[in-house]
């Protein structure tokens, strides 16, 4: 296996202007990417293309002026190809001292990871022998929904036992109803239990914020006499519900995009926190949430509901409505006791 190292190229003034312009565009693309809906990778692609242009020009320059470049085994962690004095403010950048000194003097440097330098690298072994295959698992309860619930409960119990350690829950493994109802049971705090935030990791490897379990005491009966707002979780998906609901909680065009589920979850959470704050500002409300699926959105929404119930108890009640066949069935309310 070859050696990976990093090349630092000191950029001359005549090239600095051109590369700085490219880097500015790349930085702007990266900033725009953060504002885009999850799954929209156009700006990330633009950022990468611009960074590649900078790296390519710098490598070509370094080939003609070898004295203006140098290799090091240290692999820094920076978000830009063109480094300037401002780059020193990036936390944990890992830049070598001599490079830091040059940057501090105002020199511009392009840094590029070079994966194929001649030599032999020994890769640290993560263990002896391959990762073991998964254990076979079998539901003890009959029926698909019960089996899903049992599987999800097993995962939640494991995550709780590890107190939010390495074991994560994956909302995509279960249906919308099982996800909502099981999470509600586990959000319930019993006397003497302590809140545990369990990690959420989707099967595509993307990670969302942890979900707070055993976090709030929920009531089941005596719904308050608050005004009711009826929502469908996602717009457009089931227009036949339009005459039943007052509005849609999420815009389908923003949420239902191909892309890392963790990002969709994060987006759904952020939107929900803002909207729940607006709803609460008008007084306590009951939200009837008509939901037909899309687990990252469901998870993001109920995480926001849980946080709201923790921080502002007695201001919100969410009643899930699950689509079954031709109608909706009501789930247990998310309401503080």
């Amino acid at each position: 296996m070859t050696i990976e190292n990093t090349i630092y190229v000191i950029v001359p003034n005549e090239l600095t202007v051109e590369l700085s312009a490219l880097q500015e565009r790349a930085d702007a693309a990266l900033r725009r990417a953060k504002k885009l809906p999850p799954g929209d990778t156009r700006e990330i692609a633009r950022f990468e293309a611009l960074s590649t242009q900078i790296e390519r020009k710098a490598i070509a320059y370094a080939s003609t002026r070898p004295d203006e470049s140098g290799f090091t085994d240290m692999i820094p962690k920076v978000s830009r190809a063109l480094l300037t004095r401002e780059s020193l403010s990036e936390p944990n950048h890992g830049l070598p001292k001599d490079v830091c000194a040059l940057l501090d003097k105002g020199v511009s440097i392009v840094v590029v990871g070079r994966p194929h330098q001649p030599g032999d690298t020994l890769i640290a072994s993560g263990g002896s022998g391959p990762r073991p295959p998964a254990e076979a698992w079998r539901a003890t309860r009959p029926g698909k929904r019960e089996a899903e619930t049992e599987r999800f409960e097993t995962v939640l119990e494991t995550a709780l036992a590890l107190r939010g350690g390495k074991s994560a829950i994956n909302p995509l493994s279960v249906s919308n109803r099982v996800l909502t109802e099981t999470l509600r049971r586990y959000v319930q705090a019993e006397p003497g239990t302590k809140r545990i935030d369990v990690p959420v990791e989707y099967r595509d490897g993307s990670i969302a914020d942890p979900f707070p379990l055993r976090a709030v005491r929920l009531g089941r009966t005596h719904l308050p006499n608050w005004p009711v707002l009826k929502f469908t979780l996602l717009s457009i998906r089931h227009v036949e519900m339009d005459h039943v609901v007052h509005g849609a909680w999420f815009r389908n065009a923003r949420i239902s995009r191909p892309g890392p589920a963790g990002l969709i979850d994060a987006d759904a959470f952020e939107i929900s926190m803002k909207q729940l704050a607006k709803v609460r500002a008008t007084g306590p409300r009951i939200i009837e949430m008509h939901q037909t699926g899309f687990q990252p959105a469901v998870t993001g929404f109920y995480r926001a509901v849980t946080h709201t119930l923790i921080d502002h108890p007695g201001t919100l009640c969410v009643i899930p409505k699950f689509f079954v066949g031709k109608g909706f069935e009501e789930g247990d309310p998310w309401l503080t006791a």
Partner: protein, 492 residues
């Protein structure tokens, strides 16, 4: 052999009546043993004298038991039979003649009988599933959820070789295959239908994200059993006999603990069995498995789903410490150094993959006055990755056409050249040129080139022999991004 004789008589009166070669029939009866032996003797490649024809595999090949003596020997009944092989009567590639069908003739007859018995019900069940699927999803333009029954038909050259109906099952968090049937055909290698179907099932099980367990037949309702149409009780089925035979002939026992299930551990072994890998990739892959850098299932999926090719994966695993991250979808784009290094390794891998395809499909007729008439001609080119230099050696015939050469003229290797050596470097640096010179000095008989993207400015490196692949750096990046994204979201 006496056991085999008894088994033949039993099956000849039962499920295999229309298939087994009957010793009692006349020499001119195509279903008689004498006729089959004569046909075997007339095969283009003469078989050994100790092959006893059992039954046809397809129109032009026979399943034959390997005996310990000449089949005309009077003491044949006292002898022993070993494995069952497939003997082709017509023209066939030498390495495909005599492939093992099963390890034991009794097991073969038993599995063939079970397979034939289950074929028609499976075909009908898949037909039903296909009609339902059409009405529910094709007509409405909808996509089924993983837990909905999906019919699958495998065909090769307009011949159906396999049918199945499958869905993800929450009861055991794995793949349920309600129906399964395959067949061997004349134009495919032995067991190819089972290999292809197993690959498809395993890729689906991987994508569905469960435990990788595969169970067969319909779900058993634990509350007393659900009844199907016609009043029959729904039930699970054993692992299909054809699939078990395919695995058994290659040293893997399926359904060892539970006859209806391919366990996650067996699924892993089966995935490795059905995934074609070069020896070099196998070495690098097992090294990575042992070091827990990557799971076998993920690597097999990357290959079987066509995301990365054999040579590309070998290159990545052999030359880059970032292969693990690459196969999991790559680093965060904001970590530019890591992402840049991964991109560079991936671009190089894609370039050599493209070059290998080009070399394997190159026409010897280019530049000559001879007209080439071969169709689908593909010359396998042996290759080796030089791990410590990230260089690739292609073993080609002297005088081979070299594509993508510098001046636009047709380049050929010298009459003395033994190999084309390429140093794939999407963004070449002076240190790469120095390495190229070292390789050239070390390998004077080989044609050594720097392999770069189409839009690389080579005037900075005068006198450096180079090949330019047809993709520009931007295009390579698009290809790489697609591969990384597919790997990241592959296991939903």
């Amino acid at each position: 052999m006496r056991d085999l004789g008894r088994a033949i008589r039993r099956y000849a009166d039962g499920d295999l009546a229309d298939f087994l070669f009957d010793p009692a029939r006349a020499a001119e009866d195509p279903r008689g043993l004498a006729f089959a032996v004569a046909a075997l003797r007339d095969a283009i490649v003469s078989p050994p004298e100790n092959l006893l024809p059992l039954m046809p595999v397809c129109d032009s090949s026979l399943a034959c038991a390997v005996c310990d003596r000449d089949i005309t020997d009077r003491s044949l009944d006292d002898g022993e039979a070993f494995e069952v092989v497939r003997w082709h009567l017509g023209r066939i590639a030498p390495d495909r003649q005599g492939e093992i069908l099963d390890v034991n003739p009794l097991l073969y007859l038993d599995s063939a009988a079970r397979e034939l018995r289950s074929r028609e019900p499976a075909r009908r069940a898949v037909d039903r599933a296909a009609r339902l699927y059409y009405d529910r999803y094709v007509v409405n333009g909808a996509r089924p959820r993983p837990d909905e029954l999906r019919p699958v038909q495998l065909a090769c050259q307009n011949v159906i070789i396999g049918l199945a109906a499958l869905r993800h099952d929450a009861v055991f968090d794995g793949l349920r295959v309600e129906s399964y049937t395959t067949c061997d055909v004349a134009h495919l290698a032995t067991g190819e239908a089972d290999r292809a179907m197993a690959s498809l099932l395993l890729c689906d099980a991987f994508q569905s994200g469960g435990t990788m367990e595969i169970r067969f037949g319909r779900t058993v309702n634990t509350e007393g059993g659900k009844r199907e149409e016609g009043g029959r009780r729904s039930r699970e089925l054993p692992v299909p006999p054809g699939l078990r035979r395919f695995a058994r002939a290659r040293g893997l026992e399926l359904g060892a603990k539970d006859r209806s299930s391919i366990s996650p551990a067996e699924a892993r072994e089966l995935f490795l069995l059905v995934t074609p890998m070069s020896e070099e990739l196998r070495f690098n892959a097992f090294f990575a498995f042992d070091a827990r850098r990557i799971s076998p299932e993920r690597l097999c999926y990357a290959l079987m789903a066509g995301i990365w090719r054999d040579i590309e994966l070998t290159y990545l695993l052999g030359t880059s410490g970032r292969a693990t991250s690459i196969l999991e979808g790559g680093s965060d784009p904001a970590d530019r150094i890591a992402r840049g290094a991964e991109a560079e390794a991936c671009r190089a891998a894609v370039m050599i993959g493209t070059l290998l395809s080009r070399l394997e499909n190159s026409s010897a007729a280019l530049g000559s006055e001879v007209v080439e008439v071969d169709e689908d001609a593909r010359n396998a080119i042996p290759w080796v990755i030089q791990s410590d230099m990230a260089a690739v050696y292609f073993a080609v015939q002297p005088g081979t056409l070299i594509p993508w050469g510098g001046t636009g003229a047709t380049l050929r290797t010298k009459r003395t050249s033994e190999a084309i050596i390429v140093l794939p470097r999407p963004m070449p640096h002076q240190s790469d040129i120095e390495l190229l010179a070292k390789i050239q000095a070390k390998e004077p008989e080989s044609a050594v080139f720097l392999l770069v993207p189409q839009d690389t400015e080579m005037s900075e490196f005068p006198n450096v022999p180079w090949l330019k692949c047809p993709q520009t750096l931007d295009l390579l990046d698009q290809v790489v991004r697609g591969k990384l994204d597919t790997m990241r979201i592959s296991r939903r």
